[in-house]
Structures are given as structure tokens and as C-alpha cells.
């Protein structure tokens, strides 16, 4: 291992979705909250989980499980608040994990046999002791095709 001065650490907020561990770059994460009184949006793409009022701002909830092609587990979903182009979003997750500080050098490319939907939004994986951590690209996660809704 190289000395500290050369080592770059990336910090990630981790969360479980559908049994898989994911990590989001910490600088993209605004907060973590429990969505309350969700308003469903009729006619919206199924990847949209609904809208909530968070301290006066309307936050669009994105169903990460649906987006990633996984099945949600756990009763009460938490949400990770992110922002993109001035709009607020909440990524629905099964449970929140800890903040991990990981060596940038240890970031590996996605395995070739990774599910297409996951590969589309992920920038790489970390091989942790017991599991794989999939790093998510927030911008790509939020690139939901809005026109699919307006059928």
C-alpha cells in the first residue's frame, strides 16, 4: 500500500436495495429521510414513487428498486435526498447503511455479466469483505425517460 499522501479515499453513503448494497458519492447526498404522506402521481412512469413535501419543498421520489430492476424488501422505505439541475429527488431504498470511506484505487470495473440495468447506472464496484458494493452515478440514475409516462 502506498503512503497516506498518495492514497485517495472516496466516501460513500451506502444503502441496501433489493438485497444489494449500493454506494452513492457523499458529495451528491443532501440528506436521508423517512418519506411521509406520499402523494401518488397518476399516469407517471412506474419508476416515480410519488411526491412528498419536505420542509416546504416538493421532492420527487424515485423508486430505486423499480429503476434497477430489483424487488424491494423491507416495510418502510427510507429515501436518500439528492439534487439535480435545481430539482430535489428522493431515492427510495430498503435501508440505510453506514458511510464508508474506500480507497479509490480499489474501485473496479463492473463485471461483464452485470445486469444491463445496473450497469447502465453504475460506475464501478468495490469488493468488500462479505459483499459487493455497487457505486451508483446519481445523474444516470435520474435519467428517467419522462416521455414513457405520457402515453
Amino acid at each position: 500500500m502506498s503512503t497516506e499522501t498518495d492514497q485517495v479515499f472516496n466516501e460513500y453513503v451506502t444503502a441496501m436495495v433489493g438485497g444489494q448494497l449500493f454506494g452513492l458519492p457523499i458529495r451528491r447526498v443532501q440528506d436521508v429521510f423517512l418519506p411521509d404522506r406520499v402523494t401518488k402521481v397518476p399516469l407517471a412512469s412506474p419508476e416515480i414513487g410519488g411526491l412528498i413535501n419536505l420542509r416546504g419543498r416538493i421532492v420527487t421520489l424515485v423508486d430505486l428498486a423499480h429503476r434497477l430492476g430489483l424487488t424491494r424488501r423491507g416495510e418502510t422505505p427510507m429515501a436518500i435526498g439528492v439534487e439535480l439541475a435545481g430539482e430535489s429527488y428522493g431515492l427510495l431504498i430498503d435501508s440505510i447503511g453506514e458511510v464508508m470511506s474506500l480507497d479509490a484505487a480499489a474501485l473496479e470495473r463492473n463485471p461483464i455479466n452485470l445486469d444491463a440495468r445496473l450497469a447502465a447506472v453504475s460506475t464501478g464496484v468495490y469488493r468488500l469483505e462479505a459483499q459487493l458494493l455497487l457505486v451508483l452515478d446519481v445523474d444516470r440514475v435520474l435519467a428517467i425517460d419522462a416521455s414513457a409516462a405520457a402515453a
Binding site: T39, L43, I58
Partner: protein
């Protein structure tokens, strides 16, 4: 960026916009020295400032332009070419300014081409044509000045420096945060001279202010919601005050966002001028209502659509002068833009007197694009076909000209206008021209909305689009009818298409339409009904733009946070209107055409009834018109005398009659139904007055109980119809007997013809009380039989709506018979209309009275028969 520089760029851009407009005006009115001086001064100022700030390139351009302008002042004729070159110079300056703003420095380059042109034009014809302005300065008065007179030079100078009306007087335009530096010259003086106290504020500051106010409005709504739930709260009064203050603050901040629509129109004269040049057409542009104010955001969004329509009209709509002459029109085409406020919206009308829309071509294009089948297209009216120009991707310009652009058609205009929640409509007459009407909301931010319920979900519908709320019920004024399989609402005399909001949104809702709430909505010229499950209230909501992921859903125009903190979607009436396919519209059009005179017999027999309870929980009812007054008295006032209950009422003793054993109350409020006849009153004691309703009176089950005529279904409940005539004599035995028994006058006789036993029962006592001898029969045939038997009557009262022979026919028959030709016939009917009265008159009826109008009947009798007790 350097503040000074920023401000310079802003102001210069504004000045250039003004110069643009003024130059076009000057071209049309070259002798107007005022305009010329104005332009000159502006250009002069620009040159000065450029020099001061060290912007050589701009300075040289401005200088060359100023020289040419100076020559104009000296008398050089302002040719088209000269004006075009100056306009080109203005454009170049704007480009440089834009680059300056971006890069904080002038772009490299020289403008030798323009400067050469400007100098060439300035040098040409040095010897100017005699110009009176120049001559004037050399005029000499020839005598010393008298006191109070001003020397000519001073006059001239004042003349030159007088501020001219700016097209955009409002200086509250955003940009720089500080007041103008004192180094500025004439313009500065002008501002202070004009006395308009104003400051510059950045857009951001205003936006922030607006957001704060919106949040304040929301928080106030929240507080109101909470206080609403607590009846007695000391918060109520201060909250009311807060609410008022918030409303005023809101209004004040809204005002800062308002700008005159003229700002969007500023460039139009110039655009038209250029287009005229390019296309070889003559066009006159009329702008009306430039001072109409609208929200800045809205203004920004309609600038482009209007510009596009202008170009379209000039390019495709208006014909060339020769074509126009051939068509018998004046060679100059006319475009008119008018803006005004109406009903909470801004109306912008754009019209030209050109060719109008090519209906055939639009139809062909719509069919070829698969928007509609040929068969359906045939059924559509011209107006409906014209609407297709708003369909996406529709442009019908034969050639794509550089002027109007590539296939960017009215559909883009429409979607731009949609975005701000507005509507656009078109009217066109072939050969005469077309006119577009744009309606846009006054402001985007805070609107009044109706909160509705659909299957447990709440939604907001902008109040401005709501015409009325109705509840559909069978047999009512508002009914659901079906055309083929589509449900429509009959609203008085119109048929409106219905959209079930639950279905539109894909939510499982109630299937049953009966009894549903319908929000009658109007969008543009379309009126339709939105079916919802419930209606809550109206609330002022702050419109928050939809998430970009949801913006494409046509049914929603935004979302908001209600007073209770919940997020709800705002329904876009435009989106709902669009869900009606053309088939529905044409089906309805057919149905409406096939609707000649469907006499609404169903409406004929509704009666006003008073519903109440007395002695049991079953509702009872009595025709409202029989009742003189509804009262509620303190039960302690009821006295018992001679075994009867009575109360002192209006200076007299009024007996109380109970319908049941229950009797009168001992304490509390006692509701009473008061019947009066002349001086006497009696009251019927009831337990509770329930309601006053309008419904058919159809006694289905007759009753053997005295005092009850029978049972009818009123408002869905079995209701006992009370026989008032039974109770009245219980109060005064002689209620129906004549008051004056000493004078025996000849009783006049009345023949009453009515096929309803109820009405006969009711009218007979009334007529007897008025002093008539009544013979009642149940049909016209029986009446005629009586006449045949040589029975004589003084007057006949007949119902109109009877089976077999109706009242009109009976009247005609009676008239025809000489035995009774002189006998007046009075008609009683639940339907009274001018047409029917006319008909009656023609049939020989002496009078026409509404059923249950007791007073009217008595009065009519008096008139016709000449006697009878005053009612």
C-alpha cells in the same frame, strides 16, 4: 463583471431598443424633428459613454452613426438605404455589447464596412435641401426681447432636450443593483426631471422576494387550516390581521413582477419593416393595449410565440400588393395586435386581413398525417378543421422560407402558450383574414383553485377555468344523457361532454355517474364537465412547477402544497379538453342538431314543497305556496285557553293546531307553519322544519287518514302530503265560511276543471273561502257535459295539462258554444311562459295563472267575475 460595465451594457441595450423603434417611426414620419432629436441624443450618449469607458470600437461605430444622424438634422433626406444602414449599425453594436458582456472586453475587429457606408451617406449631398430647422436658428427677431420672452437659442435647446415619451416608461426593470453613477449625462437629467422615483433591482432579488411571499402565503394557509379546526381560539383575530397583511404584501410583490406587454412588442415595428423590405409587401402594424401589464415570466414566454405569429402572418398570411389589388383589397396589408385584461386573464388578439387559413389544405394535411379519417373530416366544420394547425408537427407552408423558419408552426406556439397555462384559438375567413385569440393567466405563481376528490385522492382545478358546479340527478335541470356510448351532461339547454377524472387518471373510481359532482369547465371556447367524487373548497395555492420527470403528463399543469402540508397535483383543464377526441365532438354536434323542440314535459310539474317532521320520523310535506309564513317561537309563550293552545301573534290570538297527539312543546323553540287569510292566522305545530325542495308531486298512495292526502316520493323519501284544508277549520270553524254572513249576496259560481284530485281538494276550499260556489270536475269532457246539461257558471277555472282534452282545447270548445261564449275561462298551469300565455289568449282564455298562486287566482277571479272576497 464590473458594475459600471454591466450597467452600461444594460442601459445601452435599452437605449438601442428605443432607437430601433424610433428609427422606424422616423422613417415613416421624416419631418418629425422630435423623433430625430431623440434618436440623435441617444446615439450621442452612447458615443460619449463608450469614450469614457474606453471602448474604442463601439465609440467609432457610434460616432459614425451620430455623424449621419447629425446630417439628418441638418436636412439630409432620410432615405430607406440610410435608415437600413443605421439599423444595421445598431445591430452590430448590440452584437458587440453581447460579446462585451460575455468576455468583459470588446471583441477584436473593426467595422470598416459599416463605417464606410455611414460616412459615404453622410458625405453625399452635402448641400442639403432647405431645412426649416436650420433656417430657424439663423432667424433674427429684429427687435430687442420683451420681458418674459426667451431667446431663440434657449428655446431650441429646451426643445432638443425635452424628454420624449419613452415606449417603456416603467423603470422598474431589473438589472443592476445600484443607482446610476452621476457621470451619466442627459439621460440622468431626464430621469430626475421626469420626477419618476425609481430604483433598479436585480431579477434575483425580486424572485427571492416572490418566493418568500409565496412561502408566507402557504404558511398562512397552514395556520388558517389549524385555526379552522378550533372554534374558539384567541389566534383567530391576529391571524385574520396577518392574513390581510399577507394578501396585501402578495399583491404588492405581484405588481413588481408586472411589465407592460409593450416590452414584448418593442421589436415588432422593426421586424415588420425588415419583412416588408425582404418580401416586397406593404404592411401596416397596429399595436393596441401596449400598456396592458402581465407577469414578467409570462411575458418572457409569449415573446417568441407572438414574434412567430407576426412572421407567419407577414410571410404567408398577407398577400403581395398586386394580389391584394386583384382581390379588391387595399394594397397595404394590415396586422393588428391588441391586448387587454378580461376575467382574470390577459387576452391577446392577433389578426390580419390577408388570405385567411387554407381550409382545404389543412384538411388534406390532417388526413395525410393520419390525424383524422376522411370520413370524419367530412363531418367537421371549417372552424374545427382550423384547429388542426395546432397539432404537433403540422406546418402547411408550401415552401420553407427563411423568414418563417423550418416547419416550426402553430403547434410550437400552442405548446409555448400551454406551458404558461394559456389557450389559443383561431378564427379564419377565407380571403378576409385570420385572427388568433390567446388567453393567458395573469400570473403563474398564486392562483385560486378548487380542491376536488377523486376516489379518495385530492386534486386542484384552477378556479379561473371553473364556470359552475352542478350535481347530476335524474329529472333535474342537470341530467346525464347518453349519445351512443358517451355520457354527456344536459345543462339547461346545452349538451356538454363529460370527462371522468378518475378514468382520465387511471384511478379506480365510482362507476355511477348519477349524483356525481360535475365541475363545469371552460377552456377557450370549449365548455365541458369534469366528473369528480366530491368537492371540498377553494384555496389559494402556490403553483410549483412539475418535476421535469413529470412535465409531459398532459393532464397536470403543476403541483402544490396545501394548507395541511399535503402535496396535490393541479389538473390542467387544457389537458382534459384535449382528451375529448374529435369523434365525441362530432357526435355531440349531431345530437344537438337533431334536437328540435323537445318539450321538456318532465320539468312541468315540479312544485315547491316544505318538508317537515311532526309526530314521527317520517317526513311530511306541504306545498310551500299555501304557507304564509314560517315561524319559530319561544314555547313558553304558548298559552292554553279553553282547551286550545294559542299564542299572541302580531296583535292577535293565533290558535295552534297539532297534527298529532304529540302536541306543542313546553319549552325551547317551537317551529310553526303559519297560514293566514285576511286578518286571521292559524299555525300548524311541527317538530322540525327540514327543508324546502323542488320536486315532482306525484301522489302514489292515497290515504284514508283525514289530514293526509297521500304519500309521494320527495327527494328519494316516502313523504306524507298533508291536506291543509283539513286542519284550517280546526283553528277557526268558520275558516271557510264567509265572514260576512249578514249580507246575502248572490254567490258566484265557479266551474273547476282539474284532473288531479289533490288540486281539486286544495282549490275547492280556497275558492269557497273566497266566496264562490264551486263545482269541481275531473276532466274537460265532464265540464263540457255540464254545459250540455245547461248548467250555468260565472267563470271557469281549468287546468291546462290534462289527458285527452287539454285546457286550451276546452277553452276553444267553450268559446264555440254560444251558451257559455261569454263566460270567462281562467287557466291554471305549472308552466307559465310568454308563448303559452299567447297560446292561451288565442284559445280564448281570459287569464293565465300559475298553479299554487292563490293570490293570483283570487285576483284573476275578481277581475273576471267581478266579485269575491279580497284574499
Amino acid at each position: 463583471m464590473d458594475d459600471l460595465l454591466r450597467e452600461f451594457v444594460t442601459e445601452t441595450n435599452e437605449s438601442l431598443d428605443v432607437v430601433d423603434v424610433e428609427l422606424v417611426r422616423f422613417e415613416q414620419d421624416p419631418n418629425n424633428a422630435l423623433i430625430l432629436n431623440n434618436i440623435f441624443r441617444l446615439v450621442h450618449t452612447i458615443k460619449g459613454t463608450c469614450g469614457f469607458l474606453g471602448l474604442p470600437r463601439l465609440e467609432m461605430l457610434a460616432h459614425a452613426a451620430e455623424s449621419l444622424m447629425g446630417k439628418f438634422r441638418d436636412g439630409l433626406p432620410a432615405t430607406r438605404e440610410a435608415v437600413t444602414v443605421i439599423l444595421a449599425t445598431i445591430d452590430r453594436i448590440k452584437e458587440i455589447l453581447a460579446a462585451l458582456e460575455r468576455n468583459q472586453a470588446e471583441p477584436e475587429g473593426a467595422d470598416a464596412d459599416l463605417i464606410a457606408d455611414l460616412e459615404r451617406l453622410a458625405d453625399s449631398v452635402q448641400a442639403a435641401a432647405p431645412h426649416t430647422a436650420v433656417a430657424a436658428t439663423e432667424q433674427v427677431l429684429g427687435r430687442p426681447l420683451r420681458p418674459g420672452e426667451v431667446p431663440l437659442e434657449e428655446l431650441e435647446r429646451a426643445f432638443r432636450e425635452t424628454p420624449v415619451d419613452q415606449p417603456t416608461p416603467r423603470k422598474q426593470k431589473p438589472e443592476s443593483a445600484e443607482e446610476r453613477p452621476k457621470t451619466e449625462t442627459a439621460k440622468d437629467d431626464e430621469a430626475t426631471k421626469a420626477g419618476a422615483q425609481s430604483i433598479r433591482v436585480t431579477v434575483d432579488t425580486i424572485e427571492q422576494l416572490m418566493t418568500m411571499v409565496s412561502e408566507l402565503v402557504l404558511t398562512r394557509n397552514q395556520l388558517l387550516e389549524i385555526v379552522r379546526r378550533h372554534d374558539d381560539s384567541e389566534f383567530k383575530a391576529p391571524l385574520q390581521r396577518l392574513s390581510n397583511v399577507t394578501a396585501e404584501l402578495q399583491e404588492g410583490v405581484m405588481k413588481t413582477r408586472m411589465q407592460p406587454i409593450g416590452n414584448a412588442w418593442q421589436k415588432f415595428p422593426r421586424i415588420i419593416r425588415d419583412l416588408c423590405n425582404d418580401l416586397g409587401k406593404e404592411i401596416e402594424l397596429e399595436l393596441q393595449g401596449a400598456e396592458t401589464e402581465l407577469d414578467r415570466q409570462v411575458l418572457d414566454l409569449i415573446k417568441d410565440p407572438l414574434t412567430h405569429m407576426l412572421r407567419n402572418s407577414a410571410d404567408h398570411g398577407l398577400e403581395t400588393p398586386s394580389e391584394r389589388r386583384a382581390a379588391g383589397k387595399p394594397p397595404q396589408g394590415h396586422i393588428r395586435l391588441a391586448a387587454y385584461h378580461e376575467g382574470g386573464q390577459i387576452i391577446v388578439q392577433f389578426s390580419d386581413d390577408g388570405r385567411g387559413l387554407d381550409t382545404a389544405r389543412i384538411k388534406a394535411k390532417a388526413i395525410s398525417q393520419g390525424l383524422i379519417s376522411e370520413a370524419d373530416a367530412e363531418k367537421l366544420s371549417d372552424a374545427q378543421i382550423h384547429k388542426f394547425i395546432f397539432a404537433p408537427g403540422f406546418s402547411t407552408a408550401r415552401t420553407v422560407t427563411s423568414v418563417s423558419g423550418r416547419g416550426v408552426g402553430m403547434d410550437v406556439v400552442r405548446s409555448n402558450i400551454d406551458q404558461i397555462g394559456g389557450t389559443i384559438d383561431v378564427k379564419s375567413v377565407a380571403g378576409q383574414g385570420a385572427s388568433f385569440t390567446i388567453k393567458i393567466p395573469l400570473t403563474l405563481a398564486i392562483i385560486a383553485a378548487l380542491i376536488v376528490d377523486v376516489a379518495g385522492n385530492r386534486f386542484a382545478i384552477p378556479q379561473v377555468a371553473v364556470v359552475e358546479l352542478v350535481r347530476a340527478r335524474k329529472g333535474g335541470d342537470h341530467r346525464i344523457e347518453r349519445i351512443k356510448d358517451t355520457a354527456v351532461l344536459r345543462l339547461r339547454d346545452k349538451l356538454l361532454p363529460l370527462a371522468r377524472l378518475s378514468r382520465l387518471l387511471g384511478i379506480d373510481g365510482k362507476d355511477e355517474l348519477e349524483g356525481g359532482f360535475i365541475v363545469v369547465t371552460q377552456v377557450g371556447s370549449q365548455t365541458f364537465g369534469i366528473v369528480v367524487d366530491g368537492v371540498f373548497h377553494t384555496e389559494e395555492i402556490v403553483v410549483k412547477p412539475m418535476s421535469s420527470k413529470l412535465r409531459d403528463i398532459p393532464t397536470f399543469s403543476g403541483n402544490t402544497i396545501l394548507g395541511d402540508g399535503s402535496v396535490i397535483m393541479i389538473v390542467d383543464p387544457n389537458g382534459v379538453a384535449r382528451s375529448f377526441g374529435s369523434t365525441v365532438v362530432s357526435q355531440m354536434a349531431t345530437a344537438e342538431r337533431a334536437q328540435p323542440q323537445r318539450q321538456e314535459k318532465a320539468d312541468a310539474d315540479t312544485t315547491s314543497l316544505l318538508m317537515f317532521r311532526a309526530g314521527s320520523s317520517q317526513p311530511k310535506a306541504v306545498p310551500l305556496s299555501l304557507i304564509t309564513r314560517l315561524e319559530e317561537i319561544d314555547a313558553r309563550k304558548i298559552e292554553l285557553s279553553n282547551g286550545r293552545h294559542m299564542v299572541q301573534y302580531r296583535g292577535q290570538l293565533m290558535p295552534l293546531v297539532s297534527m298529532t297527539e304529540a302536541g306543542v312543546k313546553n319549552e325551547g323553540a317551537q317551529p310553526l307553519l303559519v297560514f293566514s287569510d285576511g286578518q286571521r292566522s292559524m299555525a300548524l305545530v311541527v317538530d322540525e322544519i327540514v327543508d324546502i325542495v323542488d320536486d315532482h308531486l306525484d301522489i302514489q298512495v292515497a290515504s284514508a287518514t283525514p289530514g293526509v292526502l297521500g304519500s309521494a316520493v320527495i327527494k328519494g323519501s316516502a313523504t306524507e302530503i298533508i291536506d291543509v284544508a283539513h286542519f284550517l277549520p280546526l283553528a277557526f270553524e268558520d275558516w271557510f265560511r264567509r265572514k260576512d254572513q249578514t249580507q246575502r249576496r248572490r254567490q258566484h259560481s265557479v266551474l273547476l276543471v282539474d284532473d288531479s284530485p289533490f288540486f281539486r281538494n286544495m282549490l275547492v276550499p280556497v275558492l269557497q273561502a273566497a266566496g264562490y260556489a264551486v263545482t269541481a270536475v275531473g276532466s274537460a269532457a265532464e265540464a263540457l257535459a255540464m254545459i250540455q246539461q245547461d248548467r250555468v257558471f260565472d267563470v271557469t277555472i281549468t287546468d291546462i295539462e290534462m289527458a285527452d282534452m287539454d285546457g286550451f282545447e276546452l277553452a276553444e270548445a267553450l268559446r264555440a258554444d254560444e251558451r257559455c261564449a261569454a263566460m270567462p275561462v281562467i287557466a291554471l298551469s305549472s308552466q307559465v311562459s310568454p308563448e303559452l300565455i299567447d297560446r292561451g289568449r288565442r284559445a280564448g282564455l281570459a287569464d293565465y295563472v300559475a298553479k299554487f298562486d292563490r293570490q293570483g287566482l283570487i285576483a284573476a277571479l275578481m277581475e273576471q267575475a267581478g266579485i269575491g272576497d279580497a284574499a
